[in-house]
Amino acid sequence: MFSKPILKQTFKSSYKLWVIFTAILCVISAVVISVFDPKMISGMMKMLEGTPMAEMAGDRLSSMTSLLGMLSQQFYGMLAAILPMIYIIITANNLIASQVDRGSMAYLLSTPTKRSTVVRTQASFLIGSVFAMFLVVTIVGLGTVQLMHHALWGEGYTPDVVAAAKVLDVDKADLTDDLSLILDNEEALATGADAREIETDVYTMYLTLKMADDTGELPQFSEQAGQVGDMQNQIISGITAAADVLGVAPADLMSDMGKIKANSAALAAAAETSGLPEPLLVMMINSQLASDELALDAGIEFSVKDYLMLNLGAFLLMFAISAISFLFSCIFNLSKNSLALGAGIPIAFFVFQIMAQIGDSLSGFKYLSLNTLFDTNAIVNGGSYAVQFVVLAVIGVVLYVVGMNRFQQKDLPL
């Protein structure tokens, strides 16, 4: 089946490249996960809202507020597609075509080793090394998620729950199940608000919303859409007035409404212009800040299954890509020809996918790219992706089989 001596030689000549690319992927993956800060990201989102950049980014922007969403965009959509591809292109060519071109294949075949054994061993190495690459990246990724966000084991306790549990002397898990314990204890409330770095009023509102959210009873404002619409207009006029007083742009103020509360003159101006009483305005601001906090909690929610599927999908895409490069490595006797197609086609796929994402007018390019079958949005946002995975796997298997057969049948210029 396999030749151990050939595997050994292949390993010796390829492991450096593998180590370099795997290390780069791991470091980048770990950095992207570590620096993820839902507060900062959602702040950035707000800043971008309404700007041309947000339009360009489209719905990708909204998916970036969660850790997996950002990972899928920043890492799996780009780096995890291009870096392993470079490794694959170089290695696939080295495994067969380059050895035929240089003539060193003659030594392997001047021993009682069948061509089928040679090509099977080389194909196995390529597939195995790509799999190992993603396995390592996955393990490092999970480790980083646990280390930086505690999102895997022991639930992702928010800092206020941790602080309040200490004050109340109860178990963190019990407290998460019954947040009213915090509401009932003033000291716990103050400590929790401190831990979250928000006011006690806002924190109270947040806890109420959170409990309602947990039981699925979050108030649906849309039921009174007309009323809310009127009120929104009033609020916006109020915010504009407050912005004048504070000397900042209304858009900036909208993303940080706490400032209105902090400045009594601004609050008065807002109340006057909007026609809403000050206490109501404060409550509405508090409510807005509280739902911001709620959104932050969602940010570090992390589905291990989705994360594994992202990695599986990336591996399957690279499996199919490696089959393309390997096929041409088997077909051609010259490295330059093997590389022309074995590198050219995967790179073209990658470029087409990028082009398809840039704008609607170019979206047709997605039909020309294998990379489209690895749909990170579908994986993260609960879409369907099983069929695409199967298609990638089938393409890979078929191309590997064709390549191996071709190598066994062709004339070798050795």
């Binding site: 060193s104 030594y107 075949l109 001047s110 009682p112 069948k114 061509r115």
Partner: protein, 308 residues
């Protein structure tokens, strides 16, 4: 049954390149020389014997096994020395020897180590930095390490220094004495002349001639060159040679008073008796070499086809 059989092998690479209807056999214990310049089709023929290429027509056998159908089987008892030395660069010489031994399932390294000593190989360094001669020696060791009965050697001494070349020729003679069957492709006359029992000359993909080397070496006639001291002597000799018919004048150089004469070994005493009566500047034997024979085919160009 012949150990190596090349039977009406044809492979046309287009524009006159390739091999065309090549047939020859190498018997057990024989060293067979395969002589031709670069691009004549030596390596193409060997590629087919090794099973690297599929013949368009014809077939090649090694120990009765079809090269294309059972390439892995024939390699068990075959040693191959490629014409171009392209070793896997990531390895050191020692690692390469180990890999080849593993691929051959070779456990006993006694012979391998003896070969390393004999060829003064220093295998420790990386293959990338090895000199061509050292790489060639490494290839020789790995071709002979498993003591195969059949050897296919493609220009084995190119890149070796003259001392090593002589040693390699000695080594081939020893292997032959041990009953090995050897196909030796070369464009170097001296090594073919020194080792081969039979020789084939290939030109532009066609086999021109296959002959027994000893017949060439031990020809029953000799050729001598004579230079006379005067024009008169020269003309007198020509006249006498014409008359006796025993001395065959092959060619003359009038302005230098030289003549080339072919003499049967049986007539050599008569020849000496005849020339003792002339005033000679010198006389010397012109050795007929493989090179002369080889050149006949290449000098005459297209006409040489008729010889076969």
């Amino acid at each position: 049954m012949s150990v190596l059989q090349v039977d009406h092998l044809t492979k046309d690479y287009g524009s006159g390149r390739g091999v065309f209807d090549v047939t020859f056999n190498v018997e057990k214990g024989e060293v067979f020389g395969f002589l031709g310049p670069n691009g004549a089709g030596k390596t193409t023929t060997i590629r087919h014997i090794m099973g690297f290429s599929r013949p368009q027509e014809g077939v090649t056998y090694v120990e009765g096994m079809n090269s294309w159908l059972e390439p892995a089987k024939i390699q068990r008892n075959l040693g191959y020395l490629p014409g171009e030395i392209a070793l896997p660069e990531a390895l050191t010489g020692t690692q390469f020897i180990k890999m080849m031994a593993d691929l051959r399932g070779l456990k006993d390294m006694t012979r391998t180590n003896a070969l390393i000593d004999r060829f003064e190989l220093e295998p420790a360094g990386g293959l990338k930095r090895m000199s061509l001669g050292m790489k060639r020696k490494l290839a020789i060791v790995t071709a002979f390490m498993h003591d195969p009965q059949v050897l296919v050697l493609d220009e084995p001494t190119s890149g070796l220094d003259p001392l090593m070349q002589d040693m390699f020729i000695e080594f081939i003679k020893e292997e032959k004495a041990r009953g090995k069957t050897i196909l030796l492709s070369s464009h170097i006359f001296s090594e073919v002349d020194a080792t081969c029992d039979r020789i084939s000359i290939i030109k532009e993909g066609h086999l021109m001639s296959t002959f027994v080397a000893n017949e060439l070496r031990h020809s029953t006639s000799k050729t001598f060159k004579l230079e006379f001291n005067s024009k008169e002597e020269f003309e007198r000799f020509r006249a006498e040679a014409e008359a006796t018919k025993r001395l065959k004048i092959l060619s003359v150089k009038r302005h230098r008073n030289q003549a080339k004469v072919q003499v049967e070994d049986a007539d050599v005493n008569d020849f000496i008796a005849v020339i003792s009566g002339y005033s000679l500047k010198f006389f010397s034997e012109i050795k007929f070499t493989l090179e002369d024979y080889f050149m006949k085919f290449y000098d005459r160009g297209g006409a040489a086809y008729a010889v076969n």
